[in-house]
Amino acid sequence: MKWGLLLGMSTLVGLMIMYEWPKLKSLPKKDKLSFFVLVFIGWFLSLFDLPNLPGPTSMIESLFKPFSKMLE
């Protein structure tokens, strides 16, 4: 794990929350919750070495490869 990345992402996320909070305050609970859940997912994912992990693209690839082979 790279500590610099963790620190950078946490700062970014912190800034984002600070920027959005004044507008977010008056909104219903559901809006606040979705904002924080999405931010948390983003922050959490950024901690991994993503480029070398299998991701949605790998799933798509294995799903659609047979079709594209057919087309070739």
């Binding site: 984002m16 219903p28 993503l50 991701g55 693209t57 659609f64």
Partner: protein, 368 residues
């Protein structure tokens, strides 16, 4: 209503044109020349059929369920549970696709900005797009409208400057190997053409709804003509080498040398590409944000703009270690994904909704 802005049908066309054209302009001739060789100018005609079909389906769905985007339509057609499930897939699809587009953009820009990290290039683009998306559909439309001439005119100027060096005999023999090579060349552009499906997320906000379909069709036609033009010009200039050069339009621009004054126009191509990528990414971004907000039944989509931007940047790295993998996906897998999500599933939903309509009419008659 999540969105209160209104746009005109012409603006819709001006958004969709760069969305379909920006990638095609840069890598298109290479992709099509690989499979179709000198018949590369026929491939866009085949591919555009998918585009016309997409506009037709999207418009039919919209006519059945007016004032609704695809995410809401699918809920009406498939019922709450399956509709939500499909909506989730669509939001993820848009997110991943947008990430992929951002990645392609960053990979291309990093040819020029060698030492800049990819994350910074994509982060800056997404931040600019986030500002447009936060302003709502009107801002997205107006920025597209403002950039439209800047996107089209330099391309025409470049073609004008290169004109004396063209060698039209390069395209012979026409259909020398039959129709198959040109059809194979149409596989990747089909994906770009099916992106016209995004009008589903713009149609509810049109001031002149009736023109939406017409402008969608016109845009697909114009994109087809522009693609043919770009393909022909690059092939007239480079001949068989088109299939081996990664970004042929860049090299075409590099070739321009008029009166020792107009030289090194590839920076102009880069500028056009940045404009195109901005419009494309902001449109996909807007569709993702609006789709997610409708899927979650939020009161406003503005708070989730930045988190989705963060996710877009993350998705632009996830599972994509290098340019080779990105290029490989771009050729076959992404087009198949695009065609199935933007064309096949909407067609299936249209068929289901046709059955459903007659069903409810029958029920209504029975109870009445």
């Amino acid at each position: 209503m999540l969105e209160t802005g209104k746009i005109s049908a012409l603006q819709l066309g001006m958004i969709i044109y760069p969305v379909m054209m920006s990638t095609a302009m840069l890598a298109g001739p290479n992709v099509m020349a690989k499979a179709a060789m000198n018949d590369l100018w026929i491939s866009p005609i085949w591919a555009s059929l998918i585009g016309f079909l997409c506009v037709y389906t999207t418009h039919q769905l919209y006519a059945k369920y007016p004032q609704k985007t695809f995410i809401e339509q699918s809920e009406e057609i498939l019922g709450k549970l399956f509709g939500k499930l499909l909506g989730f897939f669509y939001v993820c699809f848009f997110l991943q696709l947008n990430g992929f587009i951002v990645r392609e953009y960053a990979d291309f820009i990093s040819i020029f900005l060698i030492k800049t990290p990819l994350s910074l290039i994509s982060g800056v683009l997404v931040l600019v797009c986030a500002m447009a998306v936060m302003g709502g559909v009107e801002v997205v439309a107006r920025s597209a409208q403002f950039f439209f001439p800047l996107f089209v005119i330099p391309l025409l100027v470049m073609i004008g400057l290169i004109f004396p060096d063209l060698e039209p005999r390069n395209i012979f023999p026409i259909l020398g190997n039959g129709l198959i090579p040109s059809l194979k060349g149409a596989i990747t552009p089909q994906g770009w053409f099916s992106e016209v499906f995004l009008i589903s997320f713009l149609m509810p906000f049109l001031t002149d709804e009736k023109k939406g379909k017409r402008y969608g069709m016109i845009t697909v036609g114009l994109v087809m003509i522009s693609m043919i033009m770009v393909n022909l010009v690059t092939y007239f200039l480079m001949g068989e080498a088109t299939g081996r050069i990664l970004f042929p339009v860049m090299d075409t621009a590099r070739y321009v040398s008029v009166a020792d004054f107009f030289e090194n126009l590839e920076s102009g191509v880069m500028a056009i590409w940045v404009i195109g990528a901005f419009v494309k990414v902001s449109m996909f971004y807007y569709a993702t944000v609006l789709g997610a907000a409708q899927w979650l039944n939020l009161t406003t989509y503005r708070p989730i703009v930045l988190p989705i931007g963060l996710l877009t940047v993350i998705f632009s790295f996830w599972g994509l270690p290098n340019l080779a993998v990105v290029g490989d996906l771009h050729l076959l897998v992404i087009p198949v994904l695009l065609v199935s999500f933007c064309c096949l599933i909407p067609v299936i939903l249209l068929v289901i909704s046709a059955f459903k309509k007659s069903n409810t009419a029958y029920k209504g008659a029975g109870s009445g």
